[in-house]
C-alpha cells in the first residue's frame, strides 16, 4: 500500500478550487447581459490495483461548460425578430399619424372651414373681404394637404437612411461573428471558449432583432448565419449586405427579404406609406376636380367663366392653388353676371355634401383617410403589445435556464468550500499517518 491518498485528496482540492473559481465567475457576472452560468463537470479518476483491491485515484475536472439550451435561444430570437419589426412599425405609424394632426386640427377641419367661408361668401357675393376669406381658406387647405404629404415623404427618406444605418450595423456584427467563429474554433482545442460563445450569442440576438436571421450550428463550435436562405456568415467567411436608395437590401447573391427592425422599416416603406400617399393623391385630385368644375360652371364679375382653382397634377405633395385674386372666384350662376348673384358660390359651398368621384363627400373621404391611418396605428400598437408579452415569455424562459441565481451560487459555494475542507482534512490525516510511520517505527527499545 502506498500513500496515494495524498494525491487523491490533492485532486479533490484542485476540483473544489475549480468549482469555487467558477462560482466566483458566475457571481461576478450575475447581472452581465447575455452571460450564461457555467458549471464544472467532475469525473472520478480510474482505479489502480492495490493491496486489498482496486482503489479509486480521486477526481478530475472534465469540463467547465455553459448551461445553454439552443432551443430556447431559437425561440427567443424568433420573438426578437418580430419584436424589432413591430416596434419600428408602431413608432413609424405613430409618427405618420401625427403628420395628419390632432383631431381638432386636421385637414378635414381646414376643409370644413373652406366650406363655411364659401357659404358666408354666398351670402355676400359682392363683398371683397368674403372673397379674400375664401382665398385664405383655400390656401389653408392646400398648405395642410401639402405639409401632410411632405411630412410623409420626409418619413420615407428617414426610413431609407435608417435602413442604411441598420445594414451597416448588420455588416459590422457579421464581421464580429466571423471573427468569433475563428477564435472559438481555435480555442476549443485548448482552453475554454465559453465567454466567446456568450459574446457571439449576444451578437446573434442583436442580429435577430435588427434583421431576423437563421442560425445553423457548424463544425467545431462555429455557426452559419443566413437570412432568407442567403448565407451571411459561414464559419470565418462573410458576405456583406448592401442597402439601396429605394430601401431594398441586396446580398451578393441577389435581393434579400429581411425581418427585424429593417423589415419593419421596409414594410412601412412598401405597404403603409404608399397607401397613405396614394389616398392623399386621390383626395387632392377629387378636391381639385370638384372645385375646378364647379368654378368653371359659374361666371366671374367680368362675365367670363371661372377658371381652375386648384392644380393636383403633381399629386398631393405639389397641390397648389391656382386662383390668386378674388376675381378668380366665380360667384354668379348666370351670364351676364349680376352683382348680387351668389348662385355659384352657394353651389361651391354645397360641394360640402356632394358625392365626389363616387366615394362619398370630400369631408368623409378625408375622414376615412385619417381613420384608416388611425386604424393601422392602433393595430400596430396592439401587435406590439402582444409581441412584447411573447418576447417577454421567451426571454424569461431563456433567462430562467441560462441566468445566475445568487442563492444557488451561495449554496454551491458552501458545498465546494466544505468539500475543499474535507479534502484538506484527509490530506492532514494522511500526513499524520505518514509522520507516525516515519518517526515512530523502528525505535522499539531505544
Amino acid at each position: 500500500m502506498g500513500f496515494s491518498g495524498i494525491n487523491t485528496s490533492y485532486t479533490a482540492i484542485r476540483a473544489a478550487q475549480a468549482a469555487i473559481n467558477t462560482t466566483s465567475h458566475n457571481i461576478a457576472n450575475a447581472t452581465t447581459e447575455g452571460f450564461t452560468r457555467q458549471s464544472v463537470q467532475l469525473g472520478s479518476r480510474p482505479a489502480h490495483e492495490s493491496y486489498g483491491g482496486w482503489i479509486g485515484s480521486g477526481v478530475d475536472t472534465l469540463d467547465i461548460s455553459r448551461q445553454r439550451d439552443s432551443f430556447l435561444d431559437d425561440r427567443a430570437r424568433a420573438e426578437l425578430n418580430l419584436l424589432g419589426q413591430y416596434e419600428v412599425r408602431d413608432r413609424l405609424l405613430g409618427q405618420a399619424e401625427t403628420r395628419f394632426g390632432e383631431l381638432d386640427a386636421g385637414i378635414d377641419v381646414a376643409l370644413s372651414g373652406l366650406f363655411a367661408s364659401l357659404e358666408e361668401w354666398s351670402l355676400h357675393p359682392d363683398q371683397s373681404p368674403s372673397r379674400q376669406t375664401v382665398l385664405g381658406a383655400m390656401d389653408n387647405v392646400a398648405a395642410r394637404l401639402r405639409a401632410t404629404t411632405e411630412g410623409l415623404q420626409a418619413m420615407s427618406k428617414a426610413s431609407v437612411t435608417s435602413i442604411e444605418d441598420l445594414v451597416s450595423q448588420v455588416n459590422g456584427k457579421v464581421d464580429a461573428i466571423a471573427k468569433l467563429n475563428r477564435e472559438i474554433v481555435a480555442a476549443s482545442g485548448n482552453g475554454s471558449a465559453n465567454d466567446l460563445l456568450d459574446a457571439r450569442d449576444r451578437l446573434v440576438d442583436d442580429l435577430s432583432r435588427t434583421a431576423g436571421v437563421t442560425v445553423i450550428p457548424g463544425k467545431e463550435g462555429a455557426i452559419r448565419i443566413s437570412i432568407g436562405g442567403l448565407t451571411l456568415v459561414d464559419n470565418g467567411e462573410v458576405s456583406h449586405l448592401t442597402a439601396n436608395p429605394d430601401g431594398t437590401v441586396t446580398h451578393p447573391d441577389g435581393p434579400v427579404k429581411l425581418g427585424g427592425e429593417i423589415g419593419g422599416h421596409q414594410r412601412f416603406l412598401t405597404q403603409d406609406l404608399p397607401s397613405m400617399i396614394a389616398s392623399l393623391d386621390t383626395l387632392a385630385t377629387n378636391l381639385a376636380n370638384a372645385f375646378n368644375s364647379q368654378n368653371a360652371a359659374g361666371f366671374r364679375m367680368d362675365g367670363s367663366p371661372g377658371g381652375d382653382l386648384f392644380d393636383a397634377s403633381g399629386g398631393a405633395a405639389n397641390f397648389t392653388m391656382i386662383a390668386t385674386s378674388p376675381s378668380d372666384l366665380a360667384a354668379a350662376g348666370t351670364n351676364p353676371p349680376a352683382a348680387f348673384d351668389g348662385a355659384n358660390a352657394a353651389a361651391l359651398a354645397s360641394l360640402r355634401t356632394a358625392d365626389v368621384g363616387g366615394a362619398g363627400s370630400l369631408l368623409s373621404q378625408f375622414r376615412n383617410t385619417i381613420t384608416a391611418v388611425g386604424v393601422s396605428a392602433a393595430r400596430a400598437d396592439l401587435d406590439l403589445r402582444g409581441q412584447r408579452a411573447l418576447e417577454n415569455t421567451a426571454s424569461v424562459a431563456r433567462e430562467s435556464a441560462h441566468g445566475v441565481n445568487l442563492d444557488e451560487e451561495m449554496a454551491n459555494l458552501i458545498t465546494f468550500q466544505r468539500s475543499l475542507e474535507a479534502a484538506a482534512r484527509v490530506m492532514s490525516a494522511m500526513d499524520e499517518a505518514l509522520a507516525t510511520l516515519i518517526n515512530r517505527t523502528g525505535v522499539v527499545g531505544r
Binding site: 447581472t31 377641419v109 357659404e119 368623409s364 388611425g374 441565481n405
Partner: protein
C-alpha cells in the same frame, strides 16, 4: 421555474414601465380633458368625432344663414307693409276724388298722390347692406322712370339661403312680381294715371281705377304672404337647428371628453399599483442568501 436575480430585476423594471405608462396615459386624459386625441386612440370614436365636428360646423353656418335670411325677410316685410299703408291712403284719395263733393280739392289730392307715388318708389328701391331688396341679383334701383315710362331695373334672380341641411328658402320678392311689372300693370304707372285723372277732374276714370288699385294691393298681399311663409320656414328651421346643435355638442362631449370621475379614480388605482410595484421591488431585490451566511 428557476428564478434568477437578473430575471427579478428585469421583470420588476418592465412592470414599473407598464405601470408608469398607464399612469402617464391617465394623466394625459385628465390634463387634456380629451379621451380621444388621435385617431389611433379609438378609430371609430375618432371618425364619429370628426363627423360630429363637421356637422356642428355646418349647423352653425346654417344658423348664420338663418339670421341673415331673417334680417332680409323682416326688412322686406316692413317695406311692403309701409307700401300697403301708402296704397290704402291712395285708394282713400281716389275714392274721395271720384265723389262730386271734392271738386275743389282734387289738385291738392293730385299733389298728395304724386307724393305717395314717389314715397312708394323710394321704399321699393330700399337697400340693405348695399343691396336692393326688390331687384333680384341686380345692383340697380328696382323701379325707375326711364324716358317717361316706369320700368323694373332688376332681374328675376331668386336669392336663396340654406337654412337647414336640405332646406333652401327664397328670401326675396322682386318688384317685378310685387308691383305688377310682370302683369303689365305696374302700380307706379297706375298712380301716374290716377294723378292725371285727378288733375283732369275725370271722375269716371277715377272710379274705374279703384279696381286696378285693389288688384295692385292684392299683388302686394301675395308678396307679403310669400315673405311671411319664408320667415316662418326660417324661424322653424332656426329652432330645429339650435336643437340639433345642442344634441351634436352633447354627443361630441360624450364621445370626446374625459369622464373626470372615472379618470381620477383610474389615476388613483394606477398610482396605487405603481407604488405597490415599487415597494415589491424594494423588498425583493436586497434579500439573498448572501445576507444570511456568515
Amino acid at each position: 421555474m428557476r428564478i434568477t436575480n437578473r430575471m427579478l430585476v428585469d421583470q420588476s423594471l418592465s412592470r414599473l414601465q407598464t405601470s408608469q405608462s398607464a399612469l402617464a396615459r391617465q394623466q394625459e386624459r385628465i390634463s387634456s380633458g380629451r379621451d380621444i386625441r388621435r385617431a389611433s386612440d379609438d378609430p371609430s370614436g375618432a371618425s364619429r368625432i370628426m363627423s360630429l365636428q363637421a356637422d356642428l360646423r355646418a349647423r352653425e353656418q346654417e344658423s348664420r344663414n338663418s339670421e341673415d335670411a331673417d334680417t332680409v325677410l323682416s326688412l322686406s316685410d316692413t317695406a311692403l307693409q309701409s307700401i300697403v299703408s301708402r296704397m290704402h291712403r291712395a285708394r282713400d284719395l281716389v275714392v274721395a276724388g271720384a265723389s262730386e263733393q271734392q271738386n275743389g280739392s282734387r289738385p291738392a289730392m293730385a299733389t298728395e298722390l304724386a307724393g305717395i307715388r314717389d314715397e312708394i318708389a323710394q321704399v321699393a328701391n330700399q337697400r340693405h347692406d348695399g343691396r336692393p331688396l326688390f331687384a333680384g341679383f341686380a345692383d340697380a334701383d328696382a323701379v325707375a322712370k326711364v324716358a317717361g315710362t316706369w320700368t323694373y331695373g332688376g332681374d328675376a334672380g331668386a336669392i336663396t339661403r340654406r337654412v337647414g341641411p336640405t332646406d333652401i328658402v327664397q328670401v326675396n320678392v322682386t318688384a317685378a312680381d310685387a308691383f305688377g311689372f310682370n302683369a303689365g300693370a305696374d302700380l307706379f304707372t297706375l298712380l301716374d294715371d290716377v294723378e292725371a285723372a285727378m288733375t283732369a277732374n275725370d271722375q269716371t276714370a277715377l272710379s274705374n281705377a279703384l279696381t286696378s288699385i285693389d288688384a295692385a294691393l292684392s299683388r302686394i298681399g301675395d308678396a307679403q304672404a310669400s315673405i311671411g311663409a319664408a320667415a316662418n320656414r326660417v324661424e322653424s328651421s332656426q329652432i330645429r337647428n339650435l336643437d340639433a346643435q345642442l344634441a351634436l355638442r352633447t354627443e361630441l362631449s360624450l364621445v370626446q371628453d374625459t369622464d373626470m370621475a372615472s379618470a381620477v379614480m383610474e389615476l388613483q388605482l394606477q398610482e396605487m399599483s405603481y407604488e405597490a410595484t415599487l415597494s415589491a421591488l424594494g423588498r425583493s431585490l436586497p434579500t439573498s442568501l448572501v445576507a444570511f451566511l456568515r
